[in-house]
Amino acid sequence: MLYFVVRRTIFAVVLLIAVSFFTYVLFAALPTDPAALTCGKNCTPEVIERNRVRLGYDKPILEQYGQFVKGIFAGRTYGPEPVAVHCDAPSLGYSFKRHECVTDLITRSLPVTISLSIGAFVLWMVLGIGLGVVAALKRNRWPDRAATAFSVVGISLPTFFVGLLAVLIFTIWWPIMDFPRYTGFLDNPWKWASALILPWVTLAIVSASTYVRLTRNGVIETMNEEFVRLGLAKGLSRRVLIVKYVLRAALVPIVTIAGLDFAALLGGAVITESVFNLPGLGKLAIAAVVDSDLPVLVATTLVSAAFIVVANAVVDFCYGFLDPRVRDA
């Protein structure tokens, strides 16, 4: 088992390095000239050229990448004296548009995305798995049909539609709350929760649908397995059988998929954040695209990718933990 952990971690690290390199090179290969983005309206070719040299964009790509990586570990200074700016480690770049170290931008947006993701995740798992189990146990009866209908609707509706609808219903037609405005958790937990409740519900409806189906099918399939019948033959009650045998087996693949879904969400629930005006990673990324703010783009892409790589490794560990048959394989 130890070998497995070490091996997997090494692979994750290697993968992260590869992803960072690939991302960096990809953005460098874009036709947009990064130097040209660094100055505002009063840009003359001389200024651009000067900036290019100052910021090191004239150096070969590998060297640029090297500098970038060094910045992550040791901090980096951008631009020459006397107008140089220093960003502490881990420095993911400097945004000229916003005049800020990218790392600071991300550090500010991340808690928002995390808040959104965790809340939505818990809600959709409970909703999805709960409904899925009910649907499976009452197969072909009305709870099943209702749950299936719900899941079909949920999968079909685009996130922004559900989000906008939620805003419309709960802040305009039936105004039980104000338009959500994000507040930090530590500042005011109640306001934090009430601001996030609509986005949570939106994401939950959209994502739970997949899990309703997955859980339903998984439970139905597992219920037909021989070992469940044997459990029954041993004299186990139906409730114990469902929880201890069926769910235990059916949830293993579902939990692992969920882990990956969660990681993807962490990378930025772009649409939801836009609809609800939450200043998270997703919104940051979109703004960076609109503004052509390359350093921010590179950094947000990298952070998203990092989440997925780490989640993959964690999911692999969990799978080995959950399913003993996989451990020796």
Partner: protein, 326 residues
């Protein structure tokens, strides 16, 4: 005497397995087939028996080069199948066809049986549409199916009938050899007899040669002209059914035979049942010397040191044992 239709010489198949700690390189090999040789005469049946893990199914797949041997040769009707390049292989393949065990998974449920049976002919681009259809009908009749059902789908047939469809498909290219891997194991007893009768009839009328792989000793005894008993990748005894069953030389064969429950209660209590102790050793690390020695009731020192080769030791048929029973 005509040349044998199929000849296997020193067939070996090792599968890499295991994972080294960091890089997951294979650390060991499963020695599935470890030096098997035999000769199949034209128009006869070779039965291969053994329990799970003995390598008989792998051997079956090697004969038609469905998997590549690690070493060894297969000569089909005088042509070296193992060394054949792709064009020649394409020419040779029709001469050796297969029938498999599970009649439910062997047929594509979305293809009508006309398509299933015709597919080999189409792959080899043999006939035009009309001619092909006629051939399919003929084949169906030959295997005892009603040609009117030509457009039906597999799920509309019983297990026994589906096996007949599989046999029809195997006959489509007029092969010389058919390798049948447990063709009746998945069928009910009353249907098994029908299929076995069919196979025997086809052999007589078409001059087919069979390699018949099974774990059921009774079935093999009935249908085979020669029986080979396999254990852990090697043949331990080979001979006519009378010799192998009546004049058993190898202790494993004897244990196998004595383990088969006899459908006659009068024999109860009087029969010397020899129950083998323990499990089959892993094919990754077979025991040194004779592979059977860890479970053999009469194993001696020599058995651990020297691996017995397959040879006639006086019993009239080849056996791989230092101290054969007969």
């Amino acid at each position: 005497m005509s040349a044998p239709v199929l000849q296997a010489t020193n067939l070996v198949k090792y599968f890499p397995t295991g994972k080294s700690p960091l890089l997951h390189r294979p650390t060991a090999e499963v020695k599935a087939v470890d030096g098997v040789s035999f000769t199949l005469e034209r128009g006869s049946t070779l039965g291969i028996v053994g329990e799970s893990g003995c390598g008989k199914s792998t051997l079956g797949r090697l004969l038609g080069r469905l998997i590549e041997p690690s070493s060894g040769t297969v000569v089909l009707d005088g042509h070296d199948l193992t060394a054949a390049g792709n064009p020649e292989l394409r020419r040779l393949r029709p001469q050796i066809q297969y029938v498999f065990q599970d009649p439910y998974s062997c047929l594509n449920p979305r293809h009508s049986i006309a398509e299933s049976i015709a597919t080999p002919m189409r792959v080899q681009k043999l006939y035009g549409r009309a001619e092909e259809r006629q051939h399919v009908r003929d084949l169906m009749e030959r295997v005892g199916l009603n040609p009117e059902h030509i457009n039906r789908f597999p799920h509309e047939f019983s297990g026994g009938q589906r096996q007949r469809i599989g046999i029809a498909r195997a006959l489509a290219l007029q092969p010389k050899v058919i390798v049948a891997d447990e063709p009746v194991s998945a069928l009910d007893v009353s249907v098994q007899a029908q299929i076995l009768n069919l196979l025997e009839g086809l052999q007589a009328s078409l001059g087919l040669s069979y390699v018949f792989i099974a774990h059921d000793l009774g079935v093999v005894r009935h249908i085979a002209d020669q029986v080979a008993v396999m254990y852990l990748g090697r043949i331990v005894e080979i001979g006519s059914p009378g010799a192998v069953y009546g004049n058993t030389s190898h202790p494993y064969t004897q244990a196998l035979l004595s383990a088969v429950p006899v459908a006659d209660p009068r024999g109860k209590g009087t029969r010397q049942r020899q129950v083998l102790v323990g499990d089959v050793p892993s094919p990754i690390n077979p025991p040194s010397g004779c592979r059977f020695r860890t479970r053999c009731p009469q194993a001696q020192e020599r058995c651990a040191l020297e691996e017995p080769q397959l040879a006639d030791r006086g019993g009239g048929h080849p056996v791989a044992c230092h101290f054969p029973l007969a």
